[in-house]
Symmetry: C2
Subunit: 232 residues, 2 copies
DNA sequence: GGGTTGAATTAGACGTGTCTAAACTAAATA
DNA sequence: TATTTAGTTTAGACACGTCTAATTCAACCC
């Protein structure tokens, strides 16, 4: 059996692989998980022995199919939980991440099935992240652009925001920039500071580039994964 | 912070204390948790250092108020989860125990509050066990009698069944002997074998003494904790 | 090509929770 | 009272996941 800790490593490596592609470096995993590099080296050795990843010494690491499947399983749990907590237990959009992190390793297959059923097998979680399907086949990467890829005057629909930083999440939730909302870019200042107008409310909001980079958007007429109904 | 394992020990000691009173022996804890006695001795030493229990060497162990509070917190989590899974996720009466055991250590205070609210602050779980209140004051022991305390002809209402043994639970669920149902004792055979008739369905069922001892009952007119609506 | 530098790995230690084997206690028996 | 016995504790080992300090590697630059 795989420990919680091992599952966390696999999930982290999967995320890093999605962001920057393989190989994933020891130090990036260490930073992501808040561990020291030697700890990561040691753990990565164990995961390699179990066939969950491949490793080239001093280069980095890449998940095997098996490792990726485990990561997707954990991610499915995480995102189903986020969706469930939001829809059925009245959690706000930005509160769910920690709770899901704590529970994701401890739910049974049965629980997973029942939660999915209660939600009607959703395809995205409240942040707009795609929920891996029950068969754990790798989801095709949507190839969405980022808010900072666009310029003044562009009208866009928010598809996804990052769930990594609770503060950022609170800020966006506050600002009304949530998956499914339409925004228009009204200004781009030096250093990438972006000002957007939320079309429904008319409200304007400035976002630092670091945040703008984590917001995935699409053109209003494009297809996209279903946005979740965000009920903050 | 207290580890999951420590919480499990405290919960076990609490249960054993409820059943047979203090002091609780090393070997009984070991058997309850499926550990060896030396392991228990070692753990009990650590719990004593933390002020969670008192210990007399070669005699046994008794929870302090602080230890009891921790046990009640875990028990509250466990029983709220059992109730929630049964009522909102369509779990059957006998399936919930394992799931609750896995989750009880990992839910937040916030989660506890929201689950309790979603259930309307219930006082008993689906097996009829009392759910400790949010302030974690020790529940007064209900002083219910046991099915094996009664004789032929007695008509009784089931208040509580033990949730320790999934097989037994399945058996009782199958037989329709659930909290809130009225039964009549139709026969008591040698070795304590008890035959009961479920009043609603008219069905008869024989129960070995070991099982009869774990079923808590009351007279039909007595007060009792609210029975849960058992929807198997 | 040799030196510098930043990242990765090895070495060695520690805390936690578990085990088996051996020693010890205390209560019951003779 | 001496002995047996059942149960408890101590001693010592091990796996896991983590750390710090020391070493090694690879890439880059003059």
């Amino acid at each position: 059996m795989l420990s919680d800790v091992m599952e966390d490593y696999l999930k982290a490596i999967y995320s890093l692989q999605m962001e920057h592609g393989p190989p994933v470096s020891t130090s990036s995993i260490a930073e992501y998980l808040g561990k020291t590099p030697p700890t990561v080296t040691s753990m990565v050795g164990k995961l390699e022995e179990r066939g969950l990843l491949e490793r080239e010494k001093y280069k980095g690491v890449e998940l095997t199919t098996e490792g990726e499947t485990v990561a997707l399983e954990v991610l499915r749990h995480h995102r189903l939980l986020e969706a469930y907590l939001t829809e059925h237990l009245d959690y706000s959009w930005s509160e769910v991440h920690e709770e899901a992190d704590a529970l994701e390793h401890h739910i049974s297959e049965e629980f997973e099935r029942r939660v999915a059923a209660a939600l009607g097998d959703p395809e995205v979680d409240p942040h707009g992240d795609p929920i891996p399907s029950a068969d754990l086949t790798p989801p095709k990467s949507a190839g969405l652009s980022t808010l900072s890829d666009h310029g003044v005057g562009d009208t866009l629909v928010v598809c996804r925001v990052s769930d990594r930083d609770p503060e950022e999440l609170e800020y966006l939730s506050e600002a009304g920039v949530t998956p499914g909302t339409t925004i228009e870019i009204t200004d781009v200042a030096p250093f990438g500071m972006v000002t957007v107008r939320v079309v429904d409310s008319g409200r304007e909001q400035s976002l630092p580039e670091s945040v703008a980079q984590t917001i995935r958007v699409r053109a209003p007429d494009e297809e996209c994964e279903d946005e979740s109904v965000s009920t903050v």
